[in-house]
């Protein structure tokens, strides 16, 4: 075995909190271990334990046995461990230290003091293996997210580790790029290496045949064993399981509480099989929406939940420094719609919606808000129409207390103190943060990451916007946190436009999906219609998840999509188990 963990427990000395308790793991050559579980379950701590950051970089009490290469981790330096254990961080931008791809790949072997000829040989070998030879000589600052991920992986492989630890490979990238990384990782394992992958998006990882699964919850091992056993035992509300598994376990699926409120006929229909197929749409607006315009030359203009368009693009080109990222955009987003914007990294998803609040001006064409040109209003004035929430909560938080943080926006709008207090309390209540003890007087940075994310939505809500715009609202969050968060967001605002690369989230949370790719809006359709358009998925680099396939096979109406649990209950199990 390369890694042997026996009854390991970890308690951080700084917080006094026990984050791992009695965990076992054994990984040998040819093993691909999947470590899953909800956020805060101890997954990252386990990785730190395996690569030696605990106890060498983090002060923590460790009990039990942690052996790497047959020797206790505590008796090896992090540098010694680096030749056995390679670690790929969640965000490659933090991992890459070289200004060029060449210097990045040389970094590890240079630290080992290897001769230059050997370093050159290893770089040549690894770039051929991972297929990034064409990137040699390029500046790392110019690489795309997917290219960065592959360079970071090559930078790990060049150290010739026996096992590679990968932290949430699917969290930050579009799936196409992530899956390419996973394919290379699988090849590394097939060639005699080993890998430990931490990821809560189980479905995508299952395609790479993990040999074992460890499910961590509250620091404890909830399951350890093979994939089949895991699929039978995993808590369905906390792990994103393949749709086929949901169908097989339909009888034990909980009610879809916590999910965004239903807006579909199929969802509202009685649980009979006929309700799924040919289900009419309950929402006139949705059923009235024009047929999917996927890649055709016609003007792409959808219709919102209400007759009025909240946000309208008329022949718009958007970009930076004169270079267009998106061109020929004709869209009208309704005042009551839930719209998801899908697309691969760098396709222009954020660019599209930032024009709504004048964070960038169109190169051509005009953007209208509530029927008037957006140029008639400042970014501050637009804050009462659009509450724009950025991906990273840390970018917004700067005040000493939550109360001050909430008051910042309304104060800029010139609202009186009692009004500010009222909207702050309302916003906290809407995002279910009012239950936290003395929350108004707490430092925002002392909240958990999930709470900080909800707080940033509350900061936007405190300015009383009519529409929320969310940029990657659930990136890196587990299924339970995602479901709860989206339900709160949907309930808190008249309409929501959100950017995501999570296909299933878009399908289950939005009435309408817009796909951007290659500088254009290539699809604009109700979710169910889009799911049935096989062409758009392959062209736009989007993954057809098991939910997409299920919708294509079983949902035939034009409206929205029922919650996956409800859909699974309505589909007969292939082995004949009757639906519940």
């Amino acid at each position: 075995m390369i890694i042997e963990v026996r009854a390991a427990s970890v308690r951080y000395q700084t917080t006094g909190r026990q984050v791992l308790a009695e965990v076992d793991l054994a990984v040998g050559p040819g093993d691909l271990a999947l470590v899953s579980g909800p956020s805060g379950g101890g997954k990252s701590t386990l990785l730190r334990l395996l690569n030696g950051l605990i106890p060498h970089a983090y002060r923590a009490e460790v009990t039990g046995e942690v052996l790497v290469g047959g020797r206790p981790v505590a008796q090896q330096s992090v540098r010694q461990l680096s030749t056995t254990v390679g670690t790929l961080l969640q965000d490659p931008r933090k991992q890459i230290v070289g200004t060029t791809v060449d210097t990045e790949l040389a970094f590890g072997p240079e630290n080992l003091g290897l001769p230059r000829a050997e370093i050159r040989r290893r770089i040549g070998e690894v770039t051929d293996r991972v297929g990034i030879r064409h990137l040699l000589g390029r500046a790392t600052a110019e690489l795309s997210g997917g290219e960065l991920q592959m360079v970071a992986f090559a930078g790990v492989l060049v150290m010739r580790p026996q096992v590679v630890l990968v932290d949430e490979p699917l969290a930050n990238l579009d799936l196409e790029a992530s899956l390419r990384l996973m394919r290379e990782l699988r090849r590394f394992v097939d060639d005699g290496g080993a890998a430990v992958v931490v990821e809560h998006r189980v479905e995508e990882i299952l395609d790479f045949d993990p040999t074992q699964v460890l499910y961590l919850e509250d620091g404890r091992s909830g399951y350890a064993g093979d994939v089949a056993g895991f699929l039978a035992a995993a808590p369905v509300a906390h792990v994103k399981l393949p749709f086929e598994t949901l169908v097989a376990r339909a009888a034990e699926l909980p009610a879809a509480s916590g999910a965004p409120p239903a807006r579909t006929a199929a969802f509202d229909a009685p649980p009979a099989r006929t309700a799924v197929s040919d289900a009419p749409s309950a929402r006139t607006a949705v059923s009235d929406a024009p047929p999917a315009r996927t890649g055709g030359p016609a003007v792409r203009r959808g219709r919102g939940g209400s007759a009025a368009a909240r946000l309208e693009y008329r022949g718009v080109a958007l970009g930076y420094g004169g270079r267009a990222v998106l061109d020929g955009v004709d869209l009208a987003l309704g005042a009551g719609e839930r719209v998801a914007v899908l697309g691969r990294n760098g396709a222009g998803k954020s660019t599209l919606l930032r024009a709504a609040v004048r964070l960038l001006e169109p190169l051509r064409g005009a953007v209208h808000v509530d029927g008037a040109p957006v140029t008639e209003r400042s970014t501050l004035e637009l804050a009462t129409t659009f509450g724009y929430v950025f991906q990273n909560p840390g970018q917004a938080l700067f005040c000493a207390t939550v109360g001050d943080e909430l008051a910042f926006g309304p104060r800029n709008l010139g609202w009186p103190a009692d009004e500010i207090r009222r909207v702050s309390e309302d916003a906290l209540r809407a995002m279910l943060l009012d239950g936290e003890a003395d929350v108004m007087d707490r430092s925002p940075r002392t909240l958990s990451f999930g709470q900080q994310r909800r707080l940033t939505v509350a900061l936007a809500l405190a300015m009383r916007p009519r529409t929320l715009i969310l940029d990657e609202p659930t990136a890196g969050q587990d299924l339970h946190a995602t479901t709860r968060f989206m339900a709160q967001v949907m309930a808190a605002s008249e309409s929501v436009y959100f950017i995501t690369h999570d296909v299933d989230l878009a399908l289950t949370s939005a009435d309408r999906i817009i796909v951007v790719d290659g500088g254009r809006v290539v699809a604009d359709a109700p979710a169910a219609e889009l799911a049935r358009d096989a062409d758009v998925w392959s062209r736009a680099g989007l993954r057809q998840t098991s939910l997409v396939r299920a919708i294509r096979d079983h949902v035939h109406g034009a409206g929205g999509i029922p919650h996956p649990f409800d859909l699974a209950r309505l589909i007969p199990h292939p082995e004949g188990t009757p639906p519940s």
């Binding site: 030696g52 670690t87 230290v97 200004t99 210097t103 590890g108 001769p115 230059r116 936007a460 300015m463």
Partner: protein, 272 residues
């Protein structure tokens, strides 16, 4: 704001030199001109600096703004320090040409000669220093400093600065946008304290996030074996004959100018 390191002199005579030459020449030139008080001697040095600067092949368009800033700043500095404040020129007062309004300071030929010497000294120092910024490949700077016996960590720190400068600026822009949608606007107040305080919504998140990210990056570096006393630098540096000639030339200039201070005419301010 583009903060990507600008390798404007790529392929030039100086860019082909060992980067240590480009780092050492400004030091030698500083030693040379520090001893020159005579305008004529300074003009000789400046001519050499100009030839050196031209050898860096830095396009004027790329550095025009840098030169405008540099010359504006140094001209102000020189005028205030040598004309307005009647700097000690160490020669007789001479005939007053005119008096500065308000201060009443009398300006002589010696004053103007001293001011010109100072201005040319700063400008020529900039000429030999610009190639450090624009004619050394960014990826060579760390290894050059390491080979000049700077600590490995410090030398790699320079490389890291270049690596993370663009992403830090991107984070800054993103933070400004995140605060703009909450109504943040940079203060137009003339009160510097109020102006500084108004930066808080941007500076605090950028700093806190940079510190958090730095911890991840430090961990990632440790996990790839960084921190050992001895490391290989992939980039090989070796002085060539031309490198020695350039270095020798500037070494000779420093020696000659130092000798001239003690034995020749260049140690005093020249008054025509």
């Amino acid at each position: 704001m583009d903060v990507t390191p600008r390798y404007l002199g790529a392929g030039s005579f100086l860019a082909r030199r060992d980067p240590r030459v480009l780092l050492l020449v400004p030091v030698l030139y500083f030693v040379a001109v520090a001893n020159v008080a005579d305008l004529r001697g300074m003009l000789v040095c400046a001519a050499i600096a100009l030839v050196y600067y031209r050898a860096a092949g830095i396009p004027w368009r790329g550095v025009r703004a840098n030169w405008v800033f540099m010359l504006t700043f140094t001209t102000l500095l020189v005028v205030v320090n040598s004309v307005f404040t009647a700097a000690d020129t160490r020669v007789g007062a001479g005939e007053a040409l005119f008096a500065v309004p308000l201060t009443g300071t009398e300006v002589t030929w010696a004053t103007l000669s001293y001011a010109s010497t100072l201005l040319i000294r700063y400008a020529s120092l900039a000429m030999v220093s610009f190639p450090v910024a624009f004619a050394i490949a960014p990826s060579d700077l760390g290894v050059a400093l390491a080979r000049l016996r700077l600590s490995q960590r410090l030398a790699y720190g320079v490389d890291l600065t270049f690596r993370f400068l663009p992403s830090t600026v991107a984070a800054l822009r993103e933070t400004i946008d995140a605060q703009r949608v909450r109504g943040y606007e940079h203060s137009r107040s003339r009160n510097p304290f109020r102006k500084l305080a108004s930066l808080k919504p941007v500076v605090v998140p950028v700093t806190v996030n940079a510190l958090i990210d730095a911890e991840d990056t430090a961990n990632a570096m440790d996990l790839r074996g960084f921190g050992a006393k001895h490391r290989t630098w992939m980039r090989e540096l070796a002085f060539g004959r031309t490198d020695y000639l350039v270095m020798g030339g500037f070494l000779a200039l420093a020696a000659v100018m130092t000798a001239a201070k003690f034995f020749g005419p260049f140690g005093e301010v020249w008054a025509p």
